[in-house]
Symmetry: C2
């Protein structure tokens, strides 16, 4: 499973302050620590609605510069504002890139989809339209189909798309775990070349001991066909379950990845 | 998910000694602790090949007497020797009962299957014949079909059968996690009224930090359709994942079971 390290996100107060204060050392450390812990991509999120768009553009440019100087891991540019994504693209020199994210809304597909197509980026596509997260599998798949149709016309291939099945809290609706898992299975069945990606924490919203729930959901999603997860790679237990899940789903021949992680002390109980 | 507490098993040296010494207090304590930790059934295994059949019969009679005096949880009689199962049945007064286990071998189906049919017990049916654990899904399903055909003729219903898909170590063959998971899915599809059951520990044989692997496999199996697990209910982390898995697969309306377990301090990270 691909791991997209989520830690450089301005919704985290210490990260927001570090960005505002241009605290290069703190943010470089966060990038390096995630890379060392096994992140395949480093997500970069400068927040939304905190300051002016000009400020955010300046922050994104600065952040992309310093993060790619600190690690050779590719970045995931986490914004739904085209100007901010463009700011990141101006500064980014890596070959591989994720843009995170677009929805089925035509104006977003036109702007962000076109940016992804032009830069041959991978694109996270949320299985929703303007109405928010749909409750049913069918509605989510309908959004995926709109997205795939639009992106195909822009020349993008399924292999560039990371569909996010989306997650609603299980505390609100007991069926939502299965809705997300079935959406993953259906996406993998309909678009075999496309990937699936998911953030974990929404599932456990409003419940205690959320990490247990998040880890169990990660493992189930791996079985359903999840290809990538947006998570905290410094959570050693979560990363241990990623390695175990890869092994159990036949993605780790001879258990080499698991045993290598164990020898580094990275498999914890 | 139904939990069959595995701790009273003479392959564990301290249990074997307690049985040999008729250490009633130790074994009663083990039964009560498992019941309090959430076991739905208490497995009772007096070992095999340690002493004479007469000794084992006497041990099983004594053990069934004292365990059912210590807890009102139903028992799983864990033996493949008809005389020993009969000894347990002579002493057992509970309504619900599991006999663990039979295979597709006709002589075992004739003896143990008949005992289960006569006592209206649930029967664990291993998806294998005389040749040992098959490597493929198809061979395991063929064994299940032979078993179901035979037990139907004895008047047993699918609802009395707990199919064990069987588990081979992932360290020996990277595909074996998926083989077991697909076998579970296929059994649930072919025999919707039947249940599935599994012991966990074989999957991680030969690998380090086995509990991480076992827990991840338990959660995946729950997603594949596992109805019951044979495990150590005193392993609080494993039980936490059982509760999380029930919730995530839609089996815990309003998260009541999870929250109740949390309030008892039984959800641990």
């Amino acid at each position: 499973m691909l791991v997209i390290g989520e830690n450089i996100n301005a919704s985290n107060k210490s990260v927001a302050e570090a960005i505002a204060n241009r605290d290069r050392e703190f943010l470089e450390g966060l990038a390096r620590a995630q890379a060392e812990a096994g992140a395949d991509f480093i997500d970069v999120n400068t927040g939304a609605g905190q300051g002016s768009v000009e400020d955010e553009i300046a922050s994104m440019e600065w952040l992309v510069e310093i993060i790619q100087a600190a690690t050779d891991k590719p970045l995931a540019i986490d914004s739904d504002v085209p100007h901010i994504i463009e700011a990141a693209l101006r500064k980014y020199r890596g070959e591989r890139l994720i843009i995170n994210s677009v929805t089925a809304e035509p104006e977003r597909l036109a702007s962000i989809g076109t940016l992804a197509a032009e830069h041959q980026a991978w694109l996270v596509a949320l299985a929703m339209g303007a109405e928010g997260i749909p409750k049913s599998v069918e509605q989510r798949l309908a959004a995926c189909e709109q997205i795939m149709t639009y992106l195909s016309r822009l020349g993008m291939e399924a292999g560039q798309v990371l569909f996010d099945p989306l997650v609603l809290p299980i505390s609100v609706d007991s069926s939502q775990g299965l809705v997300t898992l079935k959406t993953i299975e259906q996406i993998k069945s309909r678009y075999p070349a496309a990937r699936t990606v998911m953030g974990l924490s929404n599932i456990s919203y409003g419940l205690p001991n959320r990490k247990v729930i998040n880890r169990a959901f990660l493992v189930m999603a791996a079985h359903a066909g999840l290809d990538a997860a947006i998570l905290d790679p410094l959570d050693a237990k979560a990363m241990s379950f990623v390695k175990a899940a890869d092994m159990l789903t036949g993605k780790d021949p001879f258990c080499k990845g698991y045993i290598r992680a164990y020898r580094k002390g990275a498999i914890v109980d």
